[in-house]
Amino acid sequence: MQRLINRVLPSLLALIGALVVSGLAIALSGSSPLLAFEALLDGAFGSLDGLSEVAVKSCPLLLTGLAVAVSFQAGIWNIGAEGQLLMGALAIAVIGSRATWLPQPIGLPLALGASATFGALWAGIAAQLKLRRQVNEVISTIMLNFIALGLLSYLVQGPLMEAGGRYPQSDALSPEFLMPRLSPYRIHLGLLLALFLAAAMQVFLYRSVAGYEIRATGLSPEAARLAGIDVRRRLLLALLLSGALAGLAGGIEVSAITRRLYERLSPGWGFTAIAVGLLGRLSPVGVVAAAFLFGAMDAGSNAMQRVAGVSSVLVSIIQATVIFFLVAFERRTWFSKISAEPD
């Protein structure tokens, strides 16, 4: 019990701190913080539609948050979940608008598998650069984000542009590749898949030998190496898994929600994921909780803007402040390790 409290406490404190700061911001702008928060809560949890939207917004955050958790646990600072997500989205958009001869029970899993693979391959570039050329993965994954975004932008305005050619977006996915929804709401099967993967990651990291080796490598690479653990293979595995999870997030989003590819597909999930991962203390169970929290904020933000007249951007302020407080509450933060890294 004591250990549980110790693990959850910093996240709770950070959250409370963030709410206080954003409350102050609301008050300064002349609105009522209480009214705003109430509207936020009501928007998220006050209706079935709201709840469905919480699930929809949480899903990509959950998967990318898991991606961040597994790589950070290995001591690899994958800042590239955004790019990996976009590559996953690209994969399913290409397959889903062309391979229409596949029946759904085969086609959809196959396409999602392609999304995960594309994400993993995109992360694999950073992994190879790190393992072979000692390129810091923080730099390479950030750069790969820009490349992925540029590639996406080019494709939806060129080769992949819809047949009608009016908007910079791809053709819609054919129905075989659409994720089943619980009509009339937008909540979809992808959420179950994400929750299942979270459980699987929890088992993997804390019950499997490979997961143990990944954690040991992240906490003390020298000790892991002397123990006879193949540190390089573990780093590679962690980064590939991370990329696959992020890629899958993109695949599910396209298949369930957007149903086609366009430039502003992601509002920056891959970056918010870092806050989700840290708030969840890099454990899959914690990431689930953090993702739902952030998802609820996103889902409720429109209602808050409508009812309380507070801009929905406030949610971004809360999310960003959470990171600041987390870093402040942790004595040895994950971020300080980035700069302490010798290579």
């Binding site: 250990r3 499997s208 030998v209 143990y212 954690r215 003390s220 002397l226 123990a227 006879g228 653990i229």
Partner: protein, 516 residues
């Protein structure tokens, strides 16, 4: 060998004391140093040399005592006060910005505080003028420090120290990083500095250098100055004895060398350079037989780290090979060495031996073979692993709140017991250890030593790399000495401290010093 008379002193130290926890690093030290002399501070690692110099340079605040320059007391514990009193120090690890030019590196010391401008040409000219004035040759002001050889960087550091201070120049083991021609150049330079009436304090554990360059020498042991002599009036063997101290009992070799036993591990002709490019291991061959404890003594910094790293597969030697059980290895990696039954007690337990943020149980599992043993379908068999870990905890008397207590919460001795328990839990052909009892209390030291002896009695071959002579004497069946990356032959019994001290200082009986 009469203590040297003290002349009019430039720098005097009165009853200077400094403790680190239970350790008396400086124990009420008194000393007098005069201007115009090169004064060597000789002692083993841990004798207190560096602590004393750091106190003088204002980097450490002593618990009590005082320092005076020209009979003026210096405010202690302030680097700024030390500098303005005229004390400059050159550290072993240079404090230069590698990516900047010579002039840029000197700017801080050569320009007055009030001047906010940086004029590279002016600073360069000033640097050259100052260098000429003190008789130092420096690299061109526009050269990038990264491109300079080590000796040139050191001269830059010396110039920096002299520019900012000027009365007392402290050098912390300056020759450790230099090639022999560079050492000669350094000594010539130090004589120049002395000729200008400055005091040079020169930390070393190399006897030959004391004789070569110093006017006087103070020997430190266990935080005390055990004597000050004129360098010309004391022999190297006398210095060695003063440095390591006289052992009361003549150390004994417990068992005859295990000549008949099978060879457990054989390392042949290992050579490697450290990150500076200086030779760290020079054609080292190690043979250790079943049941034998081979002690490798030596002063720290003579290749111990590198030898451990190579034997552990953590570093790749430039040449040489390792055989375990008569078979040469496919690759030198910890993974492969673990596979053939080599265990390790690393020199830095926090860095290489343990994961502090993990639990006791998880740290007991931190071994490839253990993980393999408890793996089923990729998953860790937790109940079985925990039973096994609990048994080890009991057997090795590891004191911890529980199996799940974070390793960080354990005392140093119990942390080391975790490593020993883990390594000895596996069938071992060879155990390579480096300073296995460093920093441990008496009970833990005994427990570790007993565990090593028991392992050897069971047929495990042990390589004991240690800078602690007592430990080497206490445990070893045969002793070899590592000096400047070279390994001496086994020292034949009776082994006495003086002979060992000479070997550790690089002097072999009837031979020229091997580093000439």
């Amino acid at each position: 060998m009469n203590p040297a008379p003290t002349s009019a002193s430039l720098l005097s130290i009165r009853r200077l004391s400094k403790r680190f926890g239970a350790l008396r690093a400086l124990d009420a030290i008194d000393a007098e140093f005069s201007g115009g002399e090169i004064h060597a501070i000789l002692g083993e690692n841990g004798a207190g040399k560096s602590t004393l110099m750091h106190v003088l340079a204002g980097l450490l605040r002593p618990d009590s005592g005082e320092c005076r320059i020209d009979d003026q007391a210096i405010r202690l514990g302030s680097a700024r006060a030390a500098r303005s009193a005229g004390i400059g120090m050159v550290h072993q690890h240079f404090a230069l910005v590698d990516a900047l030019t010579v002039a840029e590196n000197l700017a801080l010391s050569l320009t007055p505080d009030a001047d906010w401008r940086f004029d590279a040409v002016a600073v360069g000219e000033k640097a050259c003028a100052f260098a000429a004035q003190v008789g130092l040759e420096i690299a061109p002001p526009s050269a990038i420090v990264r491109d300079l050889p080590v000796g040139a960087r050191q001269r830059l550091e010396i110039l920096k120290a002299l520019a900012g201070a000027g009365r007392v120049l402290i050098l912390d083991e300056p020759t450790a990083v230099l090639t022999p021609p560079e050492v000669r150049l350094l000594f010539a330079m130090l004589q120049q500095v002395r000729a200008q009436g400055r005091l040079v304090l020169f930390i070393t554990h190399k006897l030959r250098e004391v004789k070569e360059v110093a006017d006087r020498v103070s020997i430190m042991r266990h935080g005390r100055v055990v004597g000050t002599y004129r360098a010309a009036e004391v022999s190297e063997s006398q210095l060695a004895e003063l440095m390591v101290g006289k052992l009361e009992v003549s150390p004994h070799i417990r068992r005859p060398p295990h000549a008949g036993a099978t060879v457990a591990m054989q390392a042949r002709e290992l050579s490697m350079r450290d990150h500076r490019g200086v030779v760290a291991l020079d054609n080292v061959s190690v043979t250790v037989r079943r049941g034998e404890i081979l002690g490798i003594a030596g002063v720290d910094g003579n290749g111990q780290r590198e030898l451990f790293a190579v034997l552990a597969g953590l570093a790749t030697p430039e040449s040489g090979q390792i055989e375990v059980g008569g078979k040469s290895l496919s690759a030198l990696a910890p993974r492969v060495l673990r596979q053939v039954g080599v265990g390790y007690i690393p020199p830095d337990r926090h860095r290489e031996g343990l994961v502090l943020a993990m639990s006791v149980a998880e740290n007991l599992l931190l071994h490839r073979n253990v993980l393999r043993r408890f793996q089923r379908h990729g998953l860790l068999q937790r109940p079985a692993a925990r039973r096994w870990a609990a048994a080890l905890m009991q057997q090795f008397r590891i004191k911890a709140a529980s199996l799940d207590a974070p390793l960080r919460s354990l005392s140093g001795g119990n942390q080391q017991r975790v490593i020993v328990a883990r390594e000895l839990s596996q069938p071992l052909a060879v155990l390579v250890t480096s300073n296995p009892t460093r920093g441990l209390d008496l009970a833990a030291t005994r427990a570790v030593a007993d565990a090593l002896r028991a392992a050897a009695a069971d047929g495990c071959a042990i390589v004991l790399i240690s800078t602690d002579l007592d430990e080497v004497f206490d445990l070893s069946d045969s002793i070899r000495v590592l000096y400047r990356g070279r390994l001496s032959d086994a020292v034949k019994p009776p082994v006495d401290a003086e002979r060992l001290g000479l070997l550790m200082a690089g002097i072999q009986a009837g031979k020229e010093p091997c580093n000439a």
